[in-house]
């Protein structure tokens, strides 16, 4: 394996980890506020479809992104209604959202474009183009730093940088603002937050909505940046991988970056080498793609460090029991 291959794999890792990172941070807000969300997948899918459809119809990537966010927000609102207002089962609501999105996107896509659930390919302004960071071409030929900067760091869609910026931002919001403190508290002990005179309902709704926005960006990125259009079931389980990454990261923002990088790297390697020969053992593509799930189960089981979810997660809050 030469240097160029490594650079290419890392470059594609950055591309592939972006939707995972955004969805993982989305889940982080929701679950930190005590609302389990296994509907990340459905929200991303809905966003990918809305973004792909609107970008194809209007020819504008920005409008596509906005539509993606709106599509995801609509489902987030349903999840909020079910799990906060009507105190329903959050897991069941998530399953319902995933199934609904899987069908709805194809149904409407077929109606609008008649391409079997696909949206027409987008190009030009309808797609987020890659931006070259300043100086990337100038230092391309410098050894080591050159390829790292110009290939891996530079030359991605603006949404990639947005996702990367969302990590320190989330850390700051969570650990350095009043909202973040309350958010973490409401996920651990909503009664104490309520006693302090702060609305549990409003806090949880804001978290669920932030989650919707981030899933929206993740889905839009997949449809009109990573690919050039929406394809039926294009998220292909990424929402669940993001969920796995969230557990792997133990619900912390910087660790989410690490976890999604690892899972993105596994995907990039398995794309590049369907059969990876490591001396006597050969790792197949399906093994690489299974590894995130296996690692998550191991982490969850507490064999390697223990992953403890927010204490009030999954429990609807009832005032004055």
């Amino acid at each position: 394996m030469d240097v160029m291959t490594v650079v290419q794999i890392l470059d594609s890792t950055v591309r592939l980890m972006t939707p995972l990172l955004l969805a993982c941070l989305a889940g982080l807000y929701s679950e930190r506020s005590g609302i389990f969300d296994i509907g990340l997948e459905g929200k991303m899918l809905m966003a990918a479809f809305s973004a792909g459809a609107v970008a194809a119809l209007t020819g504008s990537a920005v409008l596509g992104l906005l539509a993606g966010i709106l599509g995801s927000l609509a489902l987030a609102l349903v999840h909020g209604l079910a799990s906060i207002t009507f105190r329903g089962n959050q897991l069941i609501s998530g399953v319902a959202i995933n199934l609904f999105a899987g069908g709805f996107t194809v149904l409407v896509g077929q109606k609008l474009f008649g391409l079997g659930g696909r949206t027409p390919p987008v190009s030009g302004n309808a797609r987020f183009s890659e931006i070259t960071l300043p100086g990337a071409t100038a230092i391309r030929d410098v050894p080591v730093i050159g390829p790292i900067y110009s290939e891996i760091i530079s030359g991605h869609s603006p949404l990639v940088y947005l996702a990367l910026l969302a990590v320190p931002l989330t850390w700051w919001v969570l650990y350095r603002t009043r909202f973040g403190l309350r958010l973490r508290a409401v996920g651990e002990n909503p009664a104490s937050v309520d006693t302090a005179g702060i609305s549990v309902t409003r806090l949880r709704y804001s978290a669920v909505m932030i989650c919707g926005v981030l899933c929206g960006i993740a889905g839009a990125y997949m449809a009109i940046s990573l690919s050039a259009g929406f394809v039926k079931d294009m998220t292909a389980g990424r929402g669940y991988i993001a969920l796995a990454a969230l557990i792997f990261a133990k619900w912390r923002p910087w660790h989410a970056l690490g976890a999604t990088f690892l899972f993105g790297l596994l995907e990039a390697i398995s794309n590049r080498f369907p059969q990876l020969h490591l001396g006597p053992i050969t790792l197949s593509e399906s093994f690489m793609l299974t590894l995130p799930y296996i690692l998550t189960v191991v982490i969850l089981a507490g064999f390697v460090g223990r992953a403890i979810p927010p204490r009030a997660g999954g429990e609807p809050y009832v005032k004055e029991r």
Partner: protein
């Protein structure tokens, strides 16, 4: 309290109708095509009952776990592994007669499904890792294992598609239409339903016995209602969790007799066709009672077969069924309180007036 699920169901169907209207089709026409295709002929009934059989198994699997307060979302993976068990059993054991093969395959499918549920169960009971997350992960792991096995190990030489060889003729179990022919009348020729339906109904009865007529069932329900109370009464949480999940996984795994042995007669990828998730909808609709589950499974069997007909005869894709399924799960499962609380208030008010 049968009113709540009915109203929820009506709401789910009403919104589905709105969705159909929104894509410029007529809900009445769509329903007509579905009824005609799924229930209008003995062939349609044969296919409807085939899907019903799948959903009885997965619905019971979800329900048994639910009574113990566990949400088994891993029916998909357990049924996938059950398929592997059934396939190995049919391919490598020289069965003399289909009746024996059927029994053997049912045991093998249940065993593989149960074992696939054992690890999440053990992790939940001993290590406290959330069973919903682990069973989701195990769905993906099962799928990838099967992809690997079917494309490498179990694929016959010279074949390109990821599937096992065809099962030997001795393992062919008769379809319901063949039974009808043996009894001398023509019914649903070449439709998919097979004798596994009777196993499914037997299982529904056995689950009823288990949950409401045995000591284990009592412990299981007590554990589901209140873990501390059950523990105080001397019920071991570890034991109940593991036994419940073994039964639940076994039921999901046994489904493979229907789809792998009874239908495709070889193991293919994606043989489960989402039945694990249908099980959630079925259990919710059926209020986790075997009778309710059989009825709900029939409803969803009708929807699935009707959806296939719909995509055949109209421009509505079969994904409509996923929309309906999602809405049914949403309204009967997650938005349950939205319907139930106003109803309860209504009845309470009426009772006050009378009293």
């Amino acid at each position: 309290m049968i009113l709540t699920p009915l109203i929820s169901l009506a709401l789910a169907f009403a919104i589905s109708a709105v969705v159909i209207l929104a894509i410029g089709e007529s809900p009445v026409e769509a329903l007509k095509v579905m009824v005609e295709g799924a229930l209008g002929s003995s062939y349609g009934w044969g296919n409807t009952l085939y899907y019903t059989t799948n959903y009885i198994f997965t619905g019971l699997a979800v329900a048994v776990a639910y009574h113990a307060g566990l949400f088994n979302i891993g029916g998909e993976g357990q049924a996938t592994m059950g398929g592997l068990g059934v396939a190995l059993c049919c391919l490598f054991i020289p069965w003399p007669h289909w009746t024996l093969a059927l029994l053997g395959a049912a045991v093998a499918g249940a065993l593989f499904g149960a074992l696939w549920a054992l690890i999440p169960a053990w992790l939940q009971a001993k290590r406290g890792s959330h069973i919903v997350i682990t069973t989701i992960m195990f769905n993906f792991i099962a799928y990838n294992i099967l992809t690997h096995l079917l494309s490498k190990t179990l694929r016959p030489l010279g074949s390109m598609d990821p599937a096992t060889a065809n099962f030997p003729p001795a393992t062919h179990i008769p379809g319901l239409w063949q039974l009808a022919e043996m009894m001398g009348f023509a019914w649903g020729k070449h439709s998919l339903a097979n004798v596994t339906l009777f196993i499914a109904l037997l299982m529904a009865f056995l689950v009823w016995v288990l949950i409401w007529r045995t000591r284990l069932g009592y412990e299981l329900r007590a554990f589901g209602k209140s873990e501390p109370a059950a523990r105080y009464a001397g019920i071991s949480p570890v034991r109940i969790t593991i036994i419940t999940m073994l039964i639940s996984g076994g039921l999901a795994g046994m489904m493979a007799v229907n789809n792998v042995m009874g239908m495709s007669e070889r193991l293919i990828l994606n043989a489960v066709e989402g039945a694990g998730f249908f099980g959630i909808a079925v259990a919710l609709m059926g209020r986790n009672h075997p009778v309710g589950i059989v009825l709900a499974a029939l409803l969803f069997g009708f929807l699935f077969q009707g959806g296939a007909e719909l995509s055949l005869w109209t421009s509505i894709p079969r994904e409509l069924i996923a929309v309906i399924q999602g809405l049914v799960i949403l309204f009967t499962g997650a938005l349950d309180n939205m319907v139930r609380l106003p109803l309860e208030r209504l009845f309470a008010a009426r009772r006050r007036k009378e009293g």
